[in-house]
């Protein structure tokens, strides 16, 4: 199966569980399972090539300029992780189906789970570090949703927030590190980066890059001192803990360390940072785990400890260490997921996970007992189980590792960690399953249905099979190791065996097991010492830091952002003017290259009117109706200016927009006060005048400057002028740019316009649905109403004019490609024609005669434009590639047919719909405030009087 499909499948599949939610819980889980299974099988189809040592790749250039390409690769390492993610995912889905209760929204759960699965598969298959980062962040986000799945639990919400904060910050650091790596190598493709070990390690930026990337890895994989989020994430439902926090997501950091192993490892910096962090994490995690009473918390800290173990192995930088790490990832994923699921079963059946309230479950839950015991013994490192094998390899490696020139440091610490590790495993078994059967369990425990115990049982079978016959796993682990090493080192020859002879690792193992048993025997006094010892509480520290950061942010933001709009506007204006002044005073301006054109008296008169209206607006703005007239004059003069300076399209657009804007403001003014009172102090007004004058002088200065100078480089407009007719088939270059050269921009713009109109509609709806409705209904008009609201003259005139307006609109539309006009302008003209009907004949009369809802018109417009664009895919051209041809139907002259015209239809419809929906929404508010209108178009209608008279007779 193509790698693209493999990565896309879980994401696409994530749409299904929500849809299947109402079809029942089994259907919902079934469809999720099917999606994962398809991806799993798809992955297996690539197995032969991976076994043959090939690297399967897939590549699409996405943003080549940024170096961001959608490139995927599947090598041994990627295959191994994808196998874990999809394989354990299948078991988790089956388990989750039985674990979640009827109250839980299963569709939501499986949607999040599949999103997470897709993001994880994306990480392990990415061949581009930027792409990897995107998937990396997606895992943080989807795990946030999964941890906080039980929204009603405060622990769930807090845990989710903490996990997101910690892993998100780490991800941020990692972005920096990856960008540095990309800069050093000159490519963001992993396969290229992995070839440049010498280049990267010789670069002075190697250490910063290493630290930043490791921050990402350590936060994700819960390494000390970032380990604290993982136990809090245990508030998640157990399937999530088993999947994300033992088998997959927390391994992402380790995956990345393994992925970058060929280029980052082998230096003293790598060795010291990674080995130390791993060793410390392993010991601290194991010690804390022993004293945790919550089964899941115990398992969480044990996961922290094991992740530390794997990190340490990768840190040693030897091929054997890498191989042991890979083997332990496999083993840990099997036994730890099984243990989490067992803990979930106990919680599900006994209604508690507190070890102190359990005990004696051996006889009550024999199946669970066998599963959990085998998995826990494997974790403790008991022979014939897989945990023993990789733990032996770890101890062997630790024996050869010398940290800080102290030869005994690593072996001793590794052994201490193993002692505590064995101890908590024995405690888990002993205190949960052994001992007397109690009579005070919160619920009567018994073995669950097969749906719950089968998934962990399958994993435990793997635990035993690998433990008894390690040679079965050996070729696969060596294959994975080979792709981790990436040719930088030979795969070790060492065989996977249960019996290596009387080597030091064996003695260390024996010490660990015996020590663990002894620790369990002295558990009670040890617990007393532990409880008495002071220790920092990570959650408190974390919350203090977050609180401090929030306080600091508030101190910075609140003075600037205090709820006063005029304040933001002033700050914003001054900041922009200041930035402009800085640019002006530090930049250089060349000499004037254009000669100024003389202005004739007409132009000066027009300028005078514009300035008079603008200045008048400032002084007379308190009279709101008058200011509407003045702003109308400004708009009109701007339109005339456009005509004057050779922009007929702009003039037509500005003119028609002016009409609808004034109507809109009139509709609003109907409700607003008609005057603005004097409120601000003289000082304040002086300040505002100063800001305004500074802004005006600045724009004047920059405009005057560039008007007298030619462009520094040749404008790209030359291209548009040269290709408009040849390539776009139109002589009106502005229209060809809109519908052809920059059609994609226009497409975006009509969508924005449509959204704006829908927003206005939604606001109106919510106003009319709320308390405002009553106020509107009881509103007394503040001005006398016209006696004749729908005068006959106006009704007749607008109706006569309607077909003419439509024809003009049609004409303007058709000629748009070659003469000034087009979809935007035609849309505005037709809107004005329709608005006139509303104004003249009333809302009821007009809307009763309109058969299409304006939302639909907007939608149709966007759809037509979009489909026109998609049409070019069918001839293997990019979106919105246009084509045109000339046809001749005998009685008419030759005319042009262009796909761009179809696109313009979309623009036209969207504009009509958006303008009409906005205005209609405003007038619906007005309607609420009036006494109900009559159905008749005219208040005074002579013909109706005649009919009434007849009726009366």
């Amino acid at each position: 199966m193509s790698l693209f499909i493999l990565v896309a499948l879980p994401f696409l599949g994530a749409l299904l569980p929500g849809l299947m939610n109402s079809a029942g819980r089994s259907a919902c889980a079934g469809v999720t399972f099917t999606v994962s299974l398809t991806a799993f099988i798809g992955l297996l189809t690539n197995l032969p090539s991976v076994l043959a040592g090939e690297v399967v790749t897939a590549r699409v250039d996405w943003m080549p300029v940024l170096g961001l390409n959608f490139t995927l690769m599947l090598d041994g390492l990627g295959f191994f992780f994808a196998l874990l993610i999809l394989g354990i995912g299948l078991l988790i889905i089956a388990y989750g189906r039985n674990y979640l209760s009827r109250e839980d929204n299963m569709g939501q759960f499986f949607t999040y789970l599949l999103l997470f699965q897709g993001a994880m598969v994306g990480i392990v298959l990415s061949d581009n570090v930027l792409l990897l980062l995107i998937f990396w962040e997606l895992t943080s986000l989807s795990s946030f949703l999964l941890i906080g799945y039980w929204k009603h639990l405060p622990e769930g919400r807090q845990g989710a927030r903490m996990a997101l904060t910690v892993t998100g910050m780490g991800g941020l650091a990692m972005i920096g590190g990856m960008l540095i790596l990309g800069q050093i190598v000159g490519s963001y493709d992993l396969s290229v980066i992995l070839q440049n070990r010498e280049l990267i390690q010789a670069d002075p930026l190697y250490l910063p890059a290493l630290i930043l990337i490791l921050l990402g890895c350590f936060t994700k994989s819960a390494q000390f001192p970032f380990h604290f989020w993982l136990p809090h994430a245990m508030a998640a439902p157990t399937p999530v803990s088993a999947y994300l926090h033992s088998a997959t997501m927390v391994k992402a950091g380790i995956f990345l360390m393994a992925r970058m192993w060929p280029v980052l490892s082998g230096t003293p910096e790598w060795f010291v940072i990674v080995t130390t962090a791993g060793l410390v994490t392993m010991c601290i995690g194991a010690v804390i785990a022993l004293f945790k009473h919550d089964l899941k918390a115990l398992l969480a800290f044990s996961t922290v400890s094991h992740l530390g173990l794997i990190t340490m192995l990768l840190g040693t930088g030897t091929a054997f260490g890498a191989m042991a790490a890979m083997f332990h990832i496999l083993n840990h994923a099997t036994f730890k997921a099984a243990l989490f699921m067992s803990a979930g079963i106990i919680d599900h059946e006994a209604h508690t996970r507190d070890i102190r309230r359990l005990g004696g479950l051996r006889t009550l839950m024999p199946v669970t007992f066998v599963i959990a015991t085998l998995a826990a013994l494997s974790m403790a490192g008991i022979p014939l189980l897989n945990g023993f094998l990789s733990k032996e390899m770890m101890l062997e490696e630790a024996n050869h590792t010398v940290l800080f020139n102290v030869p005994w440091l690593v072996p001793v610490l590794a052994t201490v960690g193993s002692v505590f590790s064995a101890a908590y495993c024995f405690r888990l078994i002993g205190h949960t399953f052994f001992g007397p059967v109690r009579d005070d369990y919160p619920a009567k425990p018994h073995d669950p249905p097969a749906g719950l115990w089968m998934p962990p049982a399958i994993l435990v079978v793997l635990v035993v099979v690998i433990g008894v016959a390690p040679f079965l796993a050996e070729p696969f682990v060596k294959l994975v190791t080979a792709s981790v090493l990436g040719g930088e080192a030979e795969v070790p020859k060492a065989y996977f065996k249960i019996w290596h002879g009387l080597v030091p690792a064996l003695y260390m193992s024996i010490i660990a097991t015996v020590g663990g048993l002894i620790l369990l025997m002295v558990f009670k006094p040890a617990l007393r010492i532990w409880d008495g010892a002071p220790r920092p509480e990570a959650k408190v520290i974390f919350e203090a830091i977050v609180e401090a950061a929030a306080t600091l942010a508030q101190k910075l933001i609140l003075p600037l952002h205090n709820g006063a709009f005029s304040r933001y506007a002033a700050i914003g204006s001054v900041a922009i003017i200041g930035a402009g002044f800085h640019a002006w005073s530090t930049g250089q301006v060349g000499p004037a290259t254009r000669t100024a054109q003389a202005a004739d008296p007409v132009a000066i008169a027009g300028w005078g009117m514009l300035v008079a209206a603008t200045v008048g607006l400032v002084f007379l703005h308190r009279n709101r109706l008058l200011s509407l007239i003045l702003i109308g004059i400004v708009g009109l003069m701007v339109s005339i200016g456009f005509v004057f300076f050779s922009a007929p399209d702009l003039a037509m657009t500005q003119f028609t927009v002016e009409v609808v804007t004034i109507i809109l403001l009139l509709l609003a003014l109907n409700f607003l006060p008609k005057t603005t009172p004097v409120e601000s102090s003289v000082l304040r007004r002086v300040r505002d005048v100063a800001v305004a004058v500074a802004g005006g002088v600045a724009t004047f200065g920059i405009a005057y400057h560039f008007l007298l100078r030619d462009a520094v480089t040749t404008p790209i407009s030359e291209f548009h002028l040269a290709n408009s007719y040849k390539g776009g088939g139109g002589t009106n270059v502005v229209n060809v740019i809109l519908v052809d050269f920059r059609g994609f921009d226009t497409y975006g713009e009509i969508i924005v316009l449509g959204i704006a109109a829908l927003l206005i509609y939604a606001l109106t709806q919510s106003l009319l649905g709320g308390p405002v409705r009553a106020r509107l209904l009881n509103r007394k008009p503040d001005q006398p109403r016209a006696g004749d609201m729908h005068p006959m003259m106006m009704v007749v005139l607008t109706r006569v004019i309607m077909p003419v307006v439509m024809m003009v609109g049609f004409y303007i539309f058709l000629r748009g490609h070659n003469e000034p006009g087009g979809g935007f302008i035609a849309g505005l003209i037709v809107s004005i024609g329709v608005v006139m009907q509303y104004m003249a004949s009333g809302f009821n009369w007009a809307s009763a005669r309109l058969h299409y809802p304006y939302h639909g018109v907007i939608g149709a417009g966007v759809l037509v434009a979009g489909l026109t664009g998609i049409g070019s895919w069918f001839v293997n051209k990019p979106f919105l590639t246009s084509d045109f041809t000339y046809v001749r139907i005998p009685p008419f002259e030759k005319f042009e047919l262009a796909t761009a015209a179809l696109f313009d239809v979309g623009v036209f419809l969207a504009v009509v719909g958006a303008v009409m929906l906005s205005l209609e929404s405003f007038s619906r508010l007005a309607r609420r405030a009036h006494e109900p209108e009559t159905e008749h178009p005219m208040d005074i209608d002579p013909s109706r009087d005649v009919e009434d008279a007849k009726g009366a007779v």
Binding site: S566, Q597, G696
Partner: protein, 118 residues
């Protein structure tokens, strides 16, 4: 071309400056309606400014003719055309928000802090 003391470039640039100044002043007022007027004036100023970045050309609309070689710059025109239409949509949204706020609270101040209103 006739010679005169007044230049086109000066007229357009000063018009942009005056509209900007008036728009900014009205933007800093305390009631929604003058602020909306200010935004509208700023919209004119910005649109003319963008249009002017194609420089001023008289009598040469960018509609291809066989007998013409010089055209005004079509690209700023196309961009400004959509900007005019979009700004209508945005003005309508702002007016709606202002109107909704007034209908909901019977108050058309733009600031929600008493310290800025006297």
């Amino acid at each position: 071309m006739r010679k005169g003391p007044c230049k086109m470039e000066l007229l357009v640039a000063s018009a942009i400056g005056i509209m900007t100044a008036a728009g900014l002043y009205l933007l800093l007022r305390l009631r929604t309606f003058p602020v909306i007027l200010g935004i509208s004036l700023l919209t004119y100023a910005v649109n003319v400014f963008l249009f002017a970045s194609g420089r001023l050309t008289i009598g040469a609309p960018p509609v291809l003719r066989d007998d013409m070689t010089v055209y005004s710059d079509p690209l700023p025109q196309a961009l400004v055309l959509t900007a005019i239409v979009i700004s209508f949509g945005m003005t309508a949204v702002v007016v709606m928000i202002g109107l909704g706020a007034f209908l909901g609270s019977n108050d058309d101040h733009v600031d929600d802090q008493p310290e800025d209103t006297q």
